[in-house]
Symmetry: C2
């Protein structure tokens, strides 16, 4: 017996979307509780109020269903990341710090879900900058590009390297943090953020030379260029 009669004033498309959302929600719960292996398709079906076979009309297998859960979550997060960047108005260093802080907080609060994403990477061989995560990562690219355009960051800094540094460091840092008790965790996060900013700025602001005095002159000149541009457009 097919379960639910169609509610009134509901198009066919809406009903299917609603059912799909129920499936994804049930899957999210189950995967968070038990991981890719621990979750049971039968349980997901039951929680979604659907027969087991129905799951396979929407997703071709278990991994694919988990991919959907993870993709949806990255979409939500991407919006948050954009917001964190926009909050720091047009100041690249502040934007970078905002994004970094946002990402670390995220890793810690949403760890169980993000762990699923990492599991997909290692179990199913999904590329990590793949589909779901890609839009999220692009937020960083934008911050760095704008920083370069403004002359605050050196032009020859390798974006890919910075990306690995930021996301790699923070993923490990989050795992370390989660092993600590509540009190020490905050301290560890603060240390991580401050060290990571120091580290990234060292690369972003004088990548050419080895440990020397910060190249104030170049940055000053860049600022002057902008000043002159404003002045001439005002004249």
């Amino acid at each position: 017996m097919v379960q639910s009669l169609q509610k009134p004033n509901q198009t066919k498309r809406e009903r299917l979307a609603e059912r799909e959302e129920a499936i994804v929600a049930a899957a999210r719960e189950a995967f968070v509780e038990g991981g890719l292996r621990g979750a049971r398709m039968a349980q997901i079906a039951e929680r979604a109020g659907v027969a087991e076979g129905t799951l396979y009309l929407y997703y071709k297998n278990k991994s694919d269903l988990m991919r959907a859960v993870v993709a949806q979550h990255w979409d939500d997060l991407t919006r948050g990341a954009h917001q964190a960047v926009e909050q720091a108005n047009d100041e690249p260093v502040a934007q970078l710090e905002g994004l970094t802080r946002f990402h670390l907080d995220l890793l810690i609060t949403d760890w169980p879900l993000l762990e699923l994403s990492f599991a997909l990477t290692y179990m199913e061989g999904d590329d990590p900058p793949s589909s779901y995560k890609r839009d999220y990562v692009i937020v960083l690219d934008g911050v760095l590009r704008r920083g370069k355009d403004k002359g605050v960051f050196v032009a020859d800094a390798d974006i890919r390297v910075l990306r690995d540094m930021l996301f790699g460091t923070l993923e490990y840092a989050a795992r370390s943090a989660l092993l600590l008790d509540e009190r020490k965790r905050q301290e560890h996060c603060d240390h991580t953020l401050s060290a990571l900013m120091t580290a990234m700025l060292a690369v972003l602001q004088r990548s050419g030379e080895p440990a020397q005095a910060p190249d104030v002159v170049d940055r000053l000149e860049a600022a002057i260029d902008r000043l002159e541009a404003v002045a001439s457009s005002a004249g």
Copy 2:
């Protein structure tokens, strides 16, 4: 029928050790080919020349067997890491660079096996600085500690943070590198190593000062913002 008759001149203990090694070797092959999920216990048993039930006399389940494979590999690597450090005689910065280069090379050449280690972390919830990896990670701790003792590194640098930075960055960098073709890969590794050294030294050699002191550029930019506001309101 129990398979192999005991070879001459072989004690019971030796025979068991040999059999265990055969099992681990077979398991390593199978896991590298198919991952935790793709590998089949039946296939491992066959390759090891042993009945399926015998596997469970040595390891209590599939995950446990994979743990043994991974642990053995980390042991080998730890020796290599020590060697890489000792090669740079007593110069902390050079030691750090040696270890960093060694680890990145390792990640790239041994990726399939190390991927198994990461999979265990995400599928079985093993702590990443757990058992097998711990001895390896300690090599870095030694380098940093000696650097501090010699006064080359500032004393208040947080070792945990540096650890996350080094291993996190390199893991992500290795994955990025593996997506590139042979030619670009070398370039990417060079960039990564140089950037990471710059970054870590920035933290290790002057962590005392506030991360980014309000300097001339910041004040200039603040002035520019005010100017821009004036200019736009005048236009």
